[in-house]
């Protein structure tokens, strides 16, 4: 099991509930998977869909967004906006061919250290099952392309002064 795939997951946690739930999990020494790397935002409503896209594009295998429970937002109702954006984002990501389990929205109150730890473990498990995402390779590794350009450059070499 030493070579088991360990997913890289970026977690956007709201300052008031879920980040504190993560703190509480720590204070209570509730062991959980180390795969979620946490970025603190003031509110889950701050989580711009582009943050999620950026994390995926930069090599994250999964993205977690966590906020206060609906109806319990520190900013009254902003996590409802999160629900709306998350709905649209998931719909779009599906069209991009992304597996459903790679992006997840969860709720955790500041008191739910245990629940957050369990949700993290579940999520990591689910992403681990999907394997690496490594999005950049979808457009990066195309040796045929490079070879063809090089070939063309070589054919035109006598006139070309293009740096290779």
């Amino acid at each position: 099991m030493s070579e088991a795939f360990e997913p890289r997951i970026v977690g956007f946690l709201c300052n008031w509930c879920s980040y504190r739930a993560a703190d509480l999990a720590g204070i209570s020494r509730i062991k959980h998977a180390p795969n979620v790397r946490i970025i603190r935002v003031m509110c889950s409503g701050r989580v711009d869909p582009s943050f999620v896209l950026k994390a995926l594009a930069l090599g994250a295998d999964g993205v977690m967004v966590a906020g206060c429970h609906p109806g319990e937002c520190h900013y009254i109702e902003q996590n409802y906006k999160t629900i709306r954006r998350y709905g649209m984002l998931k719909h779009t990501l599906k069209a991009f061919g992304l597996e459903d389990d790679r992006v997840r929205l969860i709720w955790a109150s500041a008191a739910e250290g245990q629940q957050l730890a369990e949700a993290i473990d579940r999520f990591v498990q689910d992403v681990r099952r999907l394997g690496p995402l490594n999005w950049p390779r979808f457009w990066n590794e195309d040796p045929a392309r490079l070879a063809a350009v090089e070939k063309m450059a070589a054919e035109h070499a006598e006139a070309m002064e293009v740096p290779a």
């Binding site: 582009s50 709905g87 649209m88 061919g97 045929a144």
Partner: protein, 325 residues
């Protein structure tokens, strides 16, 4: 003052940008006064061999339109980059991939499948497909390599300026040319245009937005006064850089976003997605899901119609497609 050298080249594009250049009408004479055209495959004669022979940086201005889909296009991009002092990604295709970039939702294999085998208007009994290398009795022939993923010009070579639009409005082209001619240029790498969005010039009446359902254009005859988005139409105006003069909303048609993102925006589709979702009038995840599913049956085609190739994700997951097949 001696005349400068001008190149206008097209890659993966439709040719509309060239028409738009001609749309500057009599001002084309001013252009002619200022420049010698060294390459303009659509409008004038000119040979790649001639360009190859030019010293580096000897072309004063190159307007390059189209995305990079083949190895030949990439070669031309590199060539023209080397030979030009100022390289302009001209029009949406070069700027952000545009509609040809939507091909990134599919693999090369799928595109060939459709283009050479499945298309209803096709007559290809032998099932011929283009190949990079073909052997004929006379020797080996090469066709350009067809890429799996379309790239923008900026993703291929360093670009000095971007001129957005599908196509760029003729007035904007002239303004840009004027700026170049007079040397009044913004810092290199920037978009030549204003930093605000279509709503700024759209005359429709706007109030606070709440959307219960997204409608498609054939479903409603919009009222002429009110903001189209508020009527449920997916109008991309709020997220789209101004410059077109809000032409589409003027004729009662929602903006489709051809001018691309506003300055400083990293992912056009994400901005639009976030904004549209924010004003959905529901707090229930299931209802939200339904509104989105029913209102945006093709989310990438709607949110990224012009910008898929330059978006953060650039293309769909090939894995998923492979799984589909």
């Amino acid at each position: 003052m001696s005349k400068g050298k001008l190149a206008i080249y097209w890659a993966a594009s439709c040719g509309g940008c060239e028409i738009s250049i001609l749309g500057i009408q009599e001002k084309i004479l001013e252009v002619d006064k200022a420049f010698d055209i060294v390459l303009f495959p659509c409008g004038a004669d000119g040979k790649v061999r001639e360009v190859e022979k030019l010293p580096d940086k000897s072309i004063d201005l190159c307007l390059f339109n189209g995305g990079i889909r083949t190895s030949e296009q990439e070669y031309m991009a590199r060539l023209l980059r080397a030979k030009s002092r100022v390289l302009v990604a001209f029009g949406s295709c070069a700027h952000e991939g545009c509609v040809p970039g939507l091909g990134n939702l599919h693999t090369r294999k799928e595109i060939f499948e459709t283009n050479y085998h499945d298309s209803p208007s096709l007559d290809n009994p032998g099932g011929t497909e283009p190949h990079h290398e073909s052997s004929v009795p006379e020797g080996t022939l090469h066709l350009p390599e067809f890429y799996d993923t379309l790239k923008t010009l900026g993703q291929t070579v360093p670009v000095d300026y971007y001129l957005p639009g599908c196509p760029p409005e003729s007035e904007r082209i002239w303004e840009a040319l004027e700026a170049i001619l007079t040397g009044q240029l913004p810092p290199p790498g920037s978009v030549i245009g204003v930093n605000t969005t279509v709503c700024d010039v759209c005359k429709r009446k706007r109030t606070e937005k709440k959307i219960k359902a997204f409608k498609r254009t054939w479903e409603v005859v919009p009222d002429e006064e009110t903001c189209l988005l508020e009527q449920g139409l997916v109008c991309c105006g709020p997220a789209t850089r101004a410059g077109c003069g809000a032409l589409c909303p003027q004729v009662n048609s929602p903006c489709i976003g051809c001018y691309g993102p506003n300055g400083g925006v990293e992912d056009y589709g994400a901005r639009l997605m976030s904004a549209l979702a924010s004003v959905i009038d529901s707090n229930d995840p299931e209802e939200v899901e339904r509104i989105v599913r029913e209102g945006l049956p093709d989310p990438v085609g709607t949110l990224y119609r012009f910008s898929l190739a330059s978006s953060l994700l650039r293309r769909s997951s090939r894995q998923a497609e492979a799984a589909k097949a």
